[in-house]
Subunit: 407 residues, 2 copies
């Protein structure tokens, strides 16, 4: 007789649904689909030769260290190198402010684990990165949401929500937002940082794409603005900053980091001990060597030039092939472009038609934790060559027109 | 002004203490300490040449796959290879019964996440692996405990506990138990598996050391006994089996797996999506190549012959140098040997003296979730050469005598 597992599961299972994105990625892996879905970096840009060379060196010079158990907080040399990298970018940090984690998804899980009691309130953007909701949901939060426009989350809404709810933290992605591609303006950044500190509510700043800017001026991160107001003292930070190597080196390494006051870092380390003891050691050594040899900036430059051209190609193709009812904001960087169609259109239904014509995207609804967004969708240009982008956008334009005609 | 983080933390933080073992590992990393503490494998036995060769091949032949995002449930080829490996060991499994995880610690975290609501009861051995308690504690269980003797956990106690408590699952380590080194007898294995099924309470069988047997006959795992009684149908299993590559290949790879009915595997995958998306791809390819080329058994044989000699050396040295009041069970395999001293001795206090004499071990108390065990301690012989073992045990014998004299 089979065991009745469903009678044994914890209640949190009702809140944890399989990520729409991951399920779509399975479909999108079919090689004949034009993959505007997903958020995969372009594998042709992985720094293969450098990674191979470093692997060789590490496995011949420090093999036992590379394969042995390591410290939960991460390789000391890597923590120090990242602290330097952060400091150079206006986010003063020492090694004790850095926790190495197994990909950014783990940053979200550990922050959720540290702060969320069942029923606690978390403030997120609407739409927001659905992987974040998936991480937090294991701990049973309620959400309040600040709507996004083309300048970032609405500051008035945040002020209002902070006044009326006891929020545990705010989860924000101010730079090349996933899914909307929007970059929060400098003015809004400053306002949000000030509001958060005033309210005593920390910000979790998720910054997976920050280095990938194609146009416009680099803006300070929320963490940089916050720490500058505290005389550059990382121990007084109110922003927990999440960085990653997934979009600059390679996602398969599963390597990312958190920057925060050392008191909080110690708690994150304790949470990580219970979750996975420590992150892959060889990956940490690869990342360390990239930083030590100053190879990361060149690698980022290569990625930027390719993605930038693809972003242009997608925007031009949209102008040429999408009906005027399809609205979008041209991204200044990152991986994603967000399209909003007239109310009443259902992009989930549209996806079935698009997939039949061999084009995939991500319907917008899963990115709205409080519902809505059925008329929007997300596309990536990063991992698709320009001519394929043009072909895919033309097909998608026809699918959209077809659905508009049926409205 | 600094942020008051402590006012924001979730209640679970009170239950999650920094692992005593991890803290001790920090001390034990000092190169002049004889490291009987910790559970590190011998780094000299890592299959360096083979891992280097595989890395080379993978990074030149399938580099983009090795560095790109992967599926949450794991590399399909690796899941299939592990299913074959399990089946050959009496634990019939198909690929859909295997979930690849980022080290065994993650197996414990994900099972806890899936089953434990705050206040739920989990049955564990006493003493038990403290990393398991650390994983489960994030989800707020109560524990009931079955005392261990030299034949494994007491079956009468388990029967009694199952009758009087609604347990969500039992966590057991029947083979070369951490910390006691005890191997549960065949008779008790059969009884426990039958009791669990009768009560409708699944077993989480943690088996990190199962391949490392030095003397005596190989016993079927709980999973094998359970599945044999179900006509070899993995979908009807009541045992969730956790295996790992940490003790056979290398812990730095952070690679392990769970075997369970596919329905449950899907839920584990969903939980893992929120936790860390997927496990390191290069590590998965390394493990796959070891299985495909049939290299794992030879590797295990090398480890067994070294550890077996060290286990003998430690047992002989104990006979020669420990006072007769120190009781222990000679392990048939694994990494650990457990010593019980007369009541009233405090091994935590003893550790300070031992460390002053450059020997480290792990005091027993943290392994008892309901308290007690102050007069016991755990040692590993696996990562210490035989002559160092003899030297360390002699020193420790003097420390024990000294503390006995003060009783």
């Amino acid at each position: 007789m089979s065991v009745d597992w469903s009678g044994l599961y914890a209640q949190r299972l009702g809140r944890m649904e399989t990520s729409a994105i991951r399920e779509i990625l399975k479909v999108a892996q079919s090689p004949d689909i034009i993959p505007f879905a997903g958020g995969w970096p372009e594998a042709e840009l992985f720094p293969l030769e450098q990674i191979s060379m470093i692997c060789d060196e590490v496995l011949s010079e420090r093999p036992r260290e590379a394969l042995q158990y390591g410290l939960t907080d991460g390789l000391p040399l890597l923590r120090e190198a990242i602290a330097g990298y952060m400091t150079a970018r206006g986010m003063a940090a020492r090694a004790e402010n850095i926790v190495i984690v197994s990909g950014s998804q783990q940053s979200l899980d550990l922050v959720g684990r540290l702060f969320i009691d069942e029923g606690d309130t978390v403030l997120v953007e609407s739409p927001t990165f659905l992987g974040a909701a998936q991480a937090f949901n294991a701990y049973g939060p309620r959400y309040v949401t600040a709507p996004m426009d083309e300048q970032g989350p609405c500051v008035g809404a945040i002020e209002d929500l902070l006044a009326h709810h006891r929020c545990k933290f705010m989860y924000l992605m101010p730079t090349f937002h996933n899914p909307t591609g929007v970059t929060t303006t400098l003015a809004r950044r400053q306002q949000v940082v000030a509001l958060a500190r005033e309210a005593g509510v920390p910000i979790l700043e998720d910054d997976p794409y920050g280095q990938l800017r194609y146009t416009g001026e680099t803006l300070p991160t929320l963490a940089a603005i916050d720490i500058a107001a505290q005389e550059g003292d990382p121990e007084r930070a109110n922003v927990i900053y999440a960085g990653t190597f997934s979009k600059t080196l390679a996602p398969g390494l599963r390597l990312a980091w958190v920057v925060c006051p050392s008191e909080l870092a110690e708690q994150l380390v304790m949470a990580k001990q219970g979750a996975d003891l420590h992150s892959n050691t060889l990956s940490q050594m690869i990342a360390y060597e990239f930083l030590r040899r100053d190879w990361l900036d060149d690698q980022v430059e290569r990625i930027r030039s390719t993605y930038s051209a693809r972003c242009d190609a997608m925007c031009e193709a949209i102008k040429a092939h999408f009906p005027p009812e399809a609205r979008y904001v041209r991204p200044e960087g990152g991986l994603f472009l967000w399209v909003t169609l007239p109310e009443g259109l259902d992009t989930a239904a549209m996806l079935a038609d698009a997939a039949a014509h061999k084009v995939a995207f991500v319907p917008g609804a899963p990115f709205f934790v409080e519902g809505g967004g059925q008329n929007s969708f997300r596309m990536t240009f990063a991992s698709v060559p320009a001519d394929t982008i043009r072909r895919g956008i033309r097909i998608l334009g026809d699918v959209i027109r077809d659905h508009l005609a049926r409205l």
